[in-house]
Each structure stands twice: as structure tokens, then as C-alpha cells.
Amino acid sequence: MSDRWSRLLGVLKAFSQGFRERAVDTIEKELSEMEGSFALLLYSSLVGLPSPPPLVGLSLLPYMEREISIMLAKSRHLDDIWALWADLADL
């Protein structure tokens, strides 16, 4: 009996872990989108969109390494947008 219970517990734990990882995957993807968009928002004048006053963008520029890297990586993969969607949908 106890063996059955421990096996059931193991299965439940595995499910729980799976759900947690799945949820975190989604949050991580959302986070990466938000970080890339944050850079795009600050330096959107580069692509012809309204941007904040240069005083703000330039003062933040020294600290924006991570966000700019994400933005550039995203723009590099823009031609493979279906792969990104497939990844998001876990296909």
C-alpha cells in the first residue's frame, strides 16, 4: 500500500513539477519579450517610432546591455517568426 502511495505521490510530484516548469517557461518567454520591448521602446527612433527624449535614452544606455542583446536577437530571428510561434505553443 505504502509503495502504491509513494508511487502516486511521485506521479503527482512529477505533474506538479511539469506544470511549474511549463508556467515558468511561459513567464520566461514573456519576460524576454518585455525586456526586448523595453529596449525597443527606449530606442524606437531607430525604427521610426516616437521615442522618449534623448536625455532619458542616453542616460540609460550604459545599463541596457542585456535588453539590447535581447532586442537584437529578436530582430535577427524575425524572419523565422513561425519557429518562434511554434516554440511558444510548444509544438
Binding site: 523595453f38 522618449p52 527624449p53 536625455l55 542616453l58 540609460l60 542585456r66
Partner: protein
């Protein structure tokens, strides 16, 4: 510091002459005065009939003056940014950051950003004087400088909210996947995040400027205009723009009065009616260059009201 005077108006209406008159009169009353021109096409020294010089120069007694070198401020502002980038992006040493300066210098909005930077510095460095007299560039650029702190505050408000959402999600990922999930040095708290801290710093600085511009006790905006129709119409636009930003006008100087006659001229009564309840003072047109004594005479009646 008792007060900051900004002289605003269309190009050529006599802002620098009125600023000279104000600065000289205040100085002769025994106050310490710093007079600065933030107009990129300034002629402060020309009005005084003095040799053009860089930096701060004593005009007489307790009156100091300076023509702000816009290019130098842009270079300094960009220089500080590139220096910080060099320190933080060590692996990008190969990148030609100096070359970036030439490109960034011509970015839209750089001029007003540098002038706001200059204005902040003038207020800090010369805050020990009794009065600051700031001669501004013609309308368009001045209104951009005045609206910049408010526009910065609006942007920062949104950027901070965006940043907070990023930090929240980072914290969730880290709490589930462990310390190393996001990589080293990636902040999850507002206090640790350099970007959030910089946004807060910018917000504080812009807030101080915005508050100052709206404070009628510490700042007096003097709108200089002429009788001609174009100057009158532009002054009306300045009034509307400043009202929208809740920045008060303290005094109207109807300068070069009597120069324009006939249908092109706007009657004094119409000016008073349009700008009521702001007081209007009339300064007669005087031909030729004015010496110090004439400049003093020009401000004799209205400067008294400002101190």
C-alpha cells in the same frame, strides 16, 4: 536665490536688451546677479559692447554674465555617457564610441536636452546669487526646453511601470528556477536594478525643474513682444502653451513701442486686454545701440516691481 527670471519671446523683439536692462538694474540696486544667455545664437556681449569671451565674466560690481556654449554642453553630456559605457561594456572596447558622438550630436531633441542640462547646471552653480536672469532662444526652442521636464516625467512614469513588470517576472523565474536561472548580475529588485535607479534619478531631476518652472514665487517669466502683428500672435501662442503647462507669465514687456504704425501695429489696449490679468509695461523704441546708462533707464520703472 530669490528668483529666476526667464525672458521669452519671438526672435528680434529685444529679449537680450530687456535682460541686460533687468540685470544691470538689479545689480545697481546692490543684488548679486548672474545673467546667462542660453540662446545658441546669442549676442549678450554685443549688447553690452564687450569683447566676446567663453565662460563666466564679471560685467560690473556684483553682475556676472555668460553665453552658454551649447556645443560644449552637448560634448560633455555625450562624453559622460560614452565614458560610463566604456566602463560598463568592457567587452566592447573595439567599438568606436568616440565615433558615436558625431552621430548622436545630430539626433533629434539633442539641442533642447543639452540646454536643459545647461540650465540645471546654471541653477546649481549660481544658486548663491540673489537673482538669475536667463535670456532664452526664440519661441520654438524655448517652449521645447520648458516642456522637456514634463515630457520626461510622462515617459519615465510609463518606463518605470514597464520596468516593475520586468522585475516582477524576473523574481518569479528566479524563485522557481534558482539563483543562476537569469545569469549573473541580473537584478530582480528595484533597489538593485541600475536601470530603475537611473529612471528614479532622472525623475527626481526632471521633477525639480518642472516644479521650479511652475513656481511663481521662485520663477518669473517675462514675455517680451513688439507691436507688430506677428510678434503679437506668437506671444498669444506662447501664453496658450504656458497656460497648458500651468507655467505662469509674470510680466509683459511691450518693447520698441511706437516703431510700428498704422494697420500693422497692435494697439496697447488690445495687448492689455489679451494678456489680462498679467501686467503690461511699455518700453519706447530707442534708435541705435544702447549704452549701459540707456539700458538702466529702459528698466527703471518695471524692474522695481520685480524685486
Amino acid at each position: 536665490m530669490r528668483r529666476v527670471f526667464f525672458l521669452l519671446g519671438k526672435g528680434g523683439v529685444g529679449k537680450t536688451t530687456s535682460a541686460a536692462s533687468l540685470a544691470l538694474n538689479l545689480s545697481r540696486k546692490g543684488f548679486s546677479v548672474f545673467w546667462a544667455s542660453i540662446d545658441p545664437a546669442h549676442n549678450l556681449w554685443d549688447v553690452l559692447g564687450m569683447e566676446e569671451e567663453g565662460g563666466v565674466k564679471r560685467v560690473e560690481g556684483r553682475l556676472w554674465a555668460q553665453e552658454v556654449d551649447l556645443e560644449a554642453y552637448i560634448r560633455r553630456f555625450l562624453g559622460e555617457t560614452t565614458q560610463r559605457m566604456k566602463e560598463l561594456y568592457r567587452h566592447l572596447q573595439i567599438l568606436n564610441l568616440e565615433g558615436m558622438l558625431d552621430v548622436l550630436r545630430y539626433s533629434p531633441g539633442m539641442e533642447e536636452s543639452a540646454l536643459l542640462f545647461a540650465l540645471k547646471e546654471i541653477l546649481e552653480v549660481h544658486g548663491d546669487k540673489d537673482y538669475l536672469v536667463i535670456d532664452t532662444p526664440p519661441t520654438g526652442l524655448t517652449l521645447k526646453i520648458f516642456s522637456l521636464p514634463f515630457s520626461i516625467l510622462l515617459w519615465i512614469d510609463q518606463l518605470k511601470k514597464w520596468r516593475e513588470r520586468i522585475l516582477d517576472r524576473r523574481a518569479v523565474v528566479r524563485s522557481i528556477k534558482g539563483e543562476k536561472a537569469l545569469g549573473e548580475g541580473v537584478a530582480c529588485e528595484k533597489g538593485e536594478d541600475s536601470i530603475y535607479r537611473e529612471l528614479e534619478r532622472q525623475e527626481r531631476e526632471a521633477g525639480v525643474m518642472a516644479e521650479l518652472l511652475r513656481d511663481g514665487d521662485r520663477v518669473a517669466n517675462i514675455l517680451v513682444m513688439n507691436q507688430d502683428r506677428l510678434s503679437f500672435m506668437e506671444s498669444q501662442r506662447i501664453k496658450v502653451f504656458l497656460e497648458r503647462m500651468e507655467i505662469p507669465i509674470h510680466l509683459i514687456l511691450l518693447n520698441k513701442f511706437g516703431l510700428v504704425r498704422g494697420r500693422e501695429g497692435v494697439e496697447e489696449g488690445r495687448v492689455r486686454e489679451t494678456f489680462s490679468p498679467v501686467p503690461v509695461r511699455v518700453l519706447p523704441f530707442v534708435e541705435g545701440a544702447l549704452g549701459k546708462e540707456e539700458l538702466l533707464l529702459l528698466g527703471r520703472d518695471w524692474v522695481e516691481e520685480l524685486v
